[in-house]
Symmetry: C2
Subunit: 300 residues, 2 copies
C-alpha cells in the first residue's frame, strides 16, 4: 500500500491526509491538489459539519478516522491546536505506516517536538515539524484557498532523527504550495514567533477585551474606525488555538511581554512629561521601521 | 465677494479652502468636487512640492497663502496637526471674511476648541469643530480619494457660539461626502477617541519600536506575518500628527493606558498560572466582541 520513500526519491503523488481541515490544513490541500501533487486527499476532524463542508468544497475526497489516516496516507498534515498534538499522534501510532511522514503546522515548535517524542517514541523520525507563516482572521474550510501560501515563509525545525527523504518530501510539498522553506532550531523559532506573532495577538486581545468590557463600550465601538479595525483584527482568531499557543510558548511570551512593558514605560514617561521631542523620536523610529518592513515584506 | 449665509439658507457652491492638502483634506476636496458642491478649491500648505502635487492631481485649483484663504474662501477646512490649530487660526483672523466658516478635522477636540477660542476670540462662532472617523496608513495628496468618507462617521462638537447656519453648512458638506454626522461634547469625544484610536496607535507604535530595536530585529522582521502586519499598520502613521494628538489628549490617553495595563495584568496572570480556562474565557470574550463589531461596523 505504501510507496517507498528512499533518499532522493519522492513519492510522485502521495495520498495526503489532513487532520483539521480548516484554513491552514484546507489551504495546504487545495494548493497541492491544484498542482496535481497528491493522488488523493483524506480529511480527519472532530466537527462533522465542517468535514462535510470540506468534502462539498472539494478540499478533501473523503472524511475518515484518525486510524484510517494513519493506515492509508503517505503524508499526514496536522493542522490542529498545538495542545492536541500528543493525543493525535498517540492515537495514530499503532496504525501508522512505516514510511508515512507526518508534519504539522503548529505555531509553537518546542512543545510540539516534545509532544511528538513522547507520543511517537523511536518512530519520531517520521515526524517533520513545521510552521507556515500564514493565516488570516478567518477560520474554517470555507476560508481555505489554494494561494494562501504563495510567497509566504514556511519554517521547518527538523529533528536529527528525520531522514533526508522525509525532510525533502515535506520541503517539496511546501514549495509546490508556492512557499519559501527555511529551517531553524525549535527554540529559536519559539522566541522569534513569541515576539512577532504571539505577543501581538495577546496585546490585541487584551485591548479588545478592555474596550468590550468598559462601561460605555457601545459608544466606543460605534466610533471605532479603521485603525481600531486593523489593530484588533487578530483578536477575532480562534480562542482554542490561541489558548494552546499561549500555554505552549508561555515562557518566551512572558519574557517578550516584559520587554514590551519596558518600552511602554518609556513612551508613557515621555507622554507624562509632555516631552514632544522624545515622543516624536519614538514615533518616528517606529514609523520608519514599519514603513521599511512594509515595503520589503511582500505582504499587502 | 462673500455670499451671505443666513439660517436655513446655504451657499449653493461656496469657495472652499483646504489647509493641509493630504489624505484627509484632499479627500474632503475630492468628494465635494465630485458632487459639484464647491465652485472652487484653494489649497494652503507648508510643503511646496506636496501642494504642486495636489494641483497636478486636480484636488485643488490653486495654491494660495493662509491670508488669501482667509480672505477668499467661504468655507475653510483645517486638516493640519492639532498642535498648529492656534497659529493657523491666529494667522487667518485679521483677514477672515465675516461670513466665512471654518471647520477642522483634528483628532482631538478639547484642545482644538481651546486653541480656537484663544485665537479667534469673539469670532470663535465662525469655527465649527469636527473630526471625521476615517483615515489610512497612507499620507499625502496622492492618497486622497473622493470616497474616503462614504459610509463613515463624522463627529461635530459645535460651540454654543456657532450659528444654526454655520452648523448646517458643515453638516451638509460632510453629508455630501457620504458621511453620517453625529454631534457630541468635546470632552466625551476625547475620552472615547483616546480609547478606540489614540491608545491603539500608542500601543502599536510601542510594540513596533520594541521589535525594531531588539537585538535580533532582522530575524524577527523576516518572520513577521499577516498578524504583525495588521497589528502594526497604524504605527506607520505621521509622527508629527500623532505626537500632537498624544500631547493634546494626554490625560485621557494616560487614563486609558492604565485601564489597558490592568487588563494586561489579569491576562498575564492567567498565563503565568497556566490557567487554560481563564485564558480561553478572556480570548473568547475578545474574539466574540471583535467578530460582532466586524459584522456591524461596515468597515472592510
Amino acid at each position: 500500500m505504501q510507496e517507498r520513500l528512499e533518499p532522493g526519491k519522492e513519492s510522485a503523488s502521495p495520498v495526503l491526509a489532513v487532520v483539521g481541515v480548516g484554513l491552514i490544513g484546507g489551504s495546504f490541500a487545495a494548493a497541492l491538489r491544484r498542482k496535481g501533487r497528491v493522488s488523493k486527499i483524506l480529511g480527519v476532524g472532530r466537527n462533522r459539519r465542517s468535514l462535510q463542508e470540506a468534502v462539498d468544497l472539494g478540499l478533501i475526497d473523503a472524511a475518515i478516522s484518525l486510524e484510517e489516516a494513519a493506515r492509508e496516507a503517505d503524508v499526514i498534515m496536522l493542522a490542529v491546536p498545538v495542545g492536541t498534538t500528543h493525543s493525535v499522534l498517540a492515537a495514530m501510532l499503532p496504525h501508522l505506516g512505516e514510511d508515512t511522514i507526518i508534519t504539522d503546522a503548529g505555531s509553537t515548535k518546542v512543545s510540539v517536538v516534545e509532544a511528538a517524542r513522547a507520543a511517537l517514541g523511536e518512530r519520531v523520525g517520521q515526524f517533520v515539524p513545521g510552521h507556515p507563516i500564514a493565516g488570516a482572521e478567518k477560520t474554517g474550510p470555507s476560508a481555505a484557498t489554494a494561494d494562501l501560501y504563495e510567497g509566504r515563509t514556511v519554517i521547518l525545525t527538523p529533528l536529527e532523527e528525520n531522514s533526508a527523504a522525509a525532510r525533502l518530501t515535506i520541503t517539496r510539498l511546501w514549495e509546490a504550495c508556492g512557499a519559501r522553506v527555511v529551517t531553524m532550531e525549535p527554540d529559536t523559532h519559539d522566541v522569534v514567533l513569541a515576539s512577532v506573532s504571539h505577543v501581538p495577538h495577546f496585546l490585541s486581545s487584551v485591548f479588545m477585551w478592555q474596550v468590550a468590557t468598559a462601561e460605555n463600550s457601545d459608544l466606543r465601538l460605534a466610533l471605532a474606525g479603521s485603525g481600531f479595525r486593523d489593530f484588533t483584527r487578530i483578536a477575532a482568531g480562534s480562542p482554542e488555538m490561541w489558548r494552546d499557543i499561549f500555554l505552549a510558548n508561555r515562557n518566551a511570551i512572558l519574557s517578550e511581554i516584559t520587554e514590551v512593558r519596558h518600552a511602554l514605560d518609556r513612551a508613557e514617561q515621555a507622554l507624562l512629561e509632555g516631552n514632544g521631542e522624545k515622543l516624536h523620536d519614538f514615533l518616528e523610529r517606529a514609523a520608519l521601521a514599519r514603513r521599511f518592513w512594509g515595503s520589503r515584506s511582500g505582504l499587502k
